[in-house]
């Protein structure tokens, strides 16, 4: 177990380093990019920038210095408005984080309920209905779901204000965000629940006279949920990328919409810092998922 954890942590570290390398050197390859002298700036600004980012030093040294600053929490300044990026992330990430956590909770809960319902009522109408909706949802990109929500619930039905970042604005984005992970978890739960219910220990439990509900919840569902855990890592990644468009559509000032805005504005320092920041979160989520998965089910042998 310790060996496994160490191995995973090492892989995660390598991944983070690879990501930061790709990000840093890719950004440096952009002509007229953040660290390039071709950019038309006044000499004083240029000098300040060069001093700030050690631009006179060779690229590898720059990378090491950049990483050192990153670890200390210094992400540099935004090219567009000169604000400290750590401030931007610090104020916008909690908003995205709240949306993301709420969306994950809804997705996990609804997904498990729908998935086990579908498995228990296999080939009856609730199963078909659930699978029908799941199939439709999986073929809708996140931006389509979000814009349709905005159109129908805000403009047509008027249940929510359309263009204000008020209190109500958490409900729709959270639901829009939770849709596709929910669909995936439903599918996953259904298959693993069917698998678990076909196992010998279920028959044994029934033969011993354990009540039907107890068989389903204690013997079936608990084992069926193990594969669902593997999806948590990818779900975090999916929700983070999904939040980029959902936040832009609902006009929420979270990290996702800041990132999209940085892309449109070509604010390279902000893109670079946000990419590394989000990547670290995703890698961490995957790492935790792998370790928890192994802890929950000791039968699993991942090399």
């Amino acid at each position: 177990m310790t060996k496994y954890v160490v191995k995973r942590v090492l892989l995660a570290l390598v991944t983070v380093v690879v990501i930061s390398l790709i990000t840093f050197f890719a950004m440096n390859a952009i002509p007229g990019g953040p660290f390039n002298k071709e950019k038309a700036t006044s000499p004083t600004v240029q000098a300040q920038l060069e001093a700030r980012y050690n631009l006179d030093k060779p690229l590898t040294t720059q990378y090491v210095l950049y990483m050192k600053n990153l670890v200390k929490g210094d992400f540099g300044v935004s090219l567009k408005n000169g604000r400290e990026i750590s401030d931007i992330i610090g104020e916008s990430f909690p908003i995205s984080g709240k949306l993301g956590i709420l969306a994950s909770l809804i997705a996990i809960f609804t997904g498990i309920v729908l998935g086990s319902t579908a498995a228990l009522m296999r080939n009856k109408w609730p199963d078909r209905l659930i699978i029908f909706f799941i199939t439709i949802i999986t073929s809708m990109p996140s931006f389509v779901i979000a814009t349709l929500f905005l159109y129908f619930f805000c403009m047509k039905l008027g249940w929510f204000p359309a263009f204000s970042a008020g209190e109500n604005m958490t409900v729709l984005p959270v639901i829009a965000l939770s849709m596709s992970p929910m669909a995936y978890i439903t599918r996953l739960t259904k298959t693993s629940m069917l698998d678990a219910l076909g196992q010998d220990y279920i028959r044994t439990a029934k033969a011993k006279g354990v009540s039907g509900l107890k068989v389903i919840f204690v013997h079936g569902l608990r084992n069926a949920l193990i594969p669902v855990i593997t999806y948590v890592g990818p779900m975090v990644a999916g929700i983070l990328t999904g939040s980029m468009v959902v936040e832009s559509i609902f006009n929420i000032g979270g990290l996702g919409s800041k990132f999209v805005m940085a892309i449109t504005n070509r604010d390279y320092t902000l893109i670079m810092a946000t990419t590394i920041f989000l990547a670290v979160i995703m890698v961490l989520a995957n790492l935790i998922t792998d370790i928890v998965y192994k802890m929950v089910d000791p039968r699993i042998k991942l090399d």
């Binding site: 990501i19 790709i22 814009t147 403009m155 890698v283």
Partner: protein
């Protein structure tokens, strides 16, 4: 003769000496026909197709896809508008409405082709833009899947077939690429390639494709092949244990030929299924990137960028959002259902 006949104790052999010729009668034609081979022997492919034909959802999806492809191919020939032709004075038309100028033309007896989906804020025919958008989305999906297929197949089969240390190193590389957050890197690489490629391809044929499109393909080629490579490697590890592979090696077949002729055909079903399901996911990625303005370059439309542009006037012109959004959902839904159908029909593990 008679005394030589020895019947084994449990044999079903009939002692013919007990019968005379009169005890036998000729078989009737009907009885003879029972010996005929009635069913044709099926191949794996035929068997799968037979099962696929029984799946109404999959067949419906094929029908929808064929219709879509026909529209995509032939609509630009029929509709007299180009995707970036600005029809003067007919901006912001609702579906099947005409501008005052066009109404005058109609009154004068001229034929004016209707704007089936209306026009956009610049006066471009929206139907043809959606058609071109679907064209872009579908071709990006298919080409990207082919790129993924080729790279994944070559890498996975080499790694799986050679095994040992080569396999170990190749799979470590795959592990690292696999653990990278793909969507983030796609966004990052698209940003970077958009800026760096623009000068590199200026004046070549590639410039017509647009920088963003090329960077999309590069990104797919760099990142998305890993799961395909893993899958094919796993298949090959089991298939190469078979005797016919050993036999091929014994008669001195080259490695490349063994992989091509003896191993890959046997994992064909897995390859087909995965590629079929790769197309919708590539379309998803493309539309996502177009939506955050990293997709194909304007004025070439894509379903994602059309939906993004339509957001601004959503209140007044909701149809401009609905048409591209529904088209993309329809394409992805049909492809997903077809992929599921193919999996049910061709995956030997499920059919037994």
């Amino acid at each position: 003769m008679k005394e030589n006949f020895k019947k084994a104790p449990f044999s079903a052999q009939v002692d013919l000496s007990k019968f005379s010729m009169g005890d036998f009668e000729k078989a009737t034609d009907d009885e003879k026909r029972q010996q005929d081979v009635m069913g044709e022997s099926t191949t794996f492919f035929k068997d799968g197709m037979r099962r696929l034909k029984k799946n109404p959802l999959a067949m419906g999806s094929i029908l929808i896809l064929i219709l879509l492809v026909l529209v995509i191919l032939f609509a630009p020939l029929i509709v007299p508008y180009g995707y970036d032709d600005i029809v003067k004075g007919s901006a912001n038309l609702k579906p099947f409405y005409y501008s005052t100028q066009e109404l005058k033309q109609i009154a004068a007896g001229e034929d004016v082709f209707p704007h089936i989906f209306g026009t956009d804020s610049l006066g471009r025919d929206y139907f043809i833009r959606v058609v071109y958008g679907a064209r872009v989305s579908l071709s990006v999906g298919i080409i990207a899947s082919i790129i993924v297929l080729i790279i994944g197949m070559v890498y996975g089969s080499i790694s799986g077939y050679l095994g040992g240390r080569v396999d170990l190193i190749m799979m470590r590389i795959v592990d690292i690429i696999y653990s990278l957050p793909d969507m983030l890197l796609i966004i990052l690489l698209s940003v970077v390639l958009r800026e760096t490629l623009i000068n590199a391809i200026k004046g070549t044929v590639l410039a017509k494709l647009g920088v963003n499109m090329i960077s999309l393909f590069i990104v797919f080629g760099l990142l998305y092949w890993v799961s395909m490579a893993r899958l094919i490697r796993g298949q090959i590890l089991t298939i190469k244990q078979n005797e016919y592979v050993l036999a091929a090696q014994c008669i001195g077949t080259s490695t490349a030929r063994t992989i091509r002729k003896h191993i890959l055909p046997n994992c064909l079903s897995v390859i087909i299924i995965t590629t079929a399901l790769q197309v919708p996911s590539a379309i998803f990625t493309e539309s996502y990137l177009s939506f955050i303005s990293l997709g194909v370059s304007a004025p070439m439309p894509s379903l994602g960028s059309l939906a993004n542009e339509a957001r601004a006037g959503m209140q007044t012109y909701p149809e401009r959002l609905l048409f591209p959004a529904l088209t993309i959902c329809l394409i992805v839904l049909a492809l997903n259902l077809l992929g599921d159908g193919l999996r049910d029909a061709f995956d030997p593990k499920l059919s037994r």
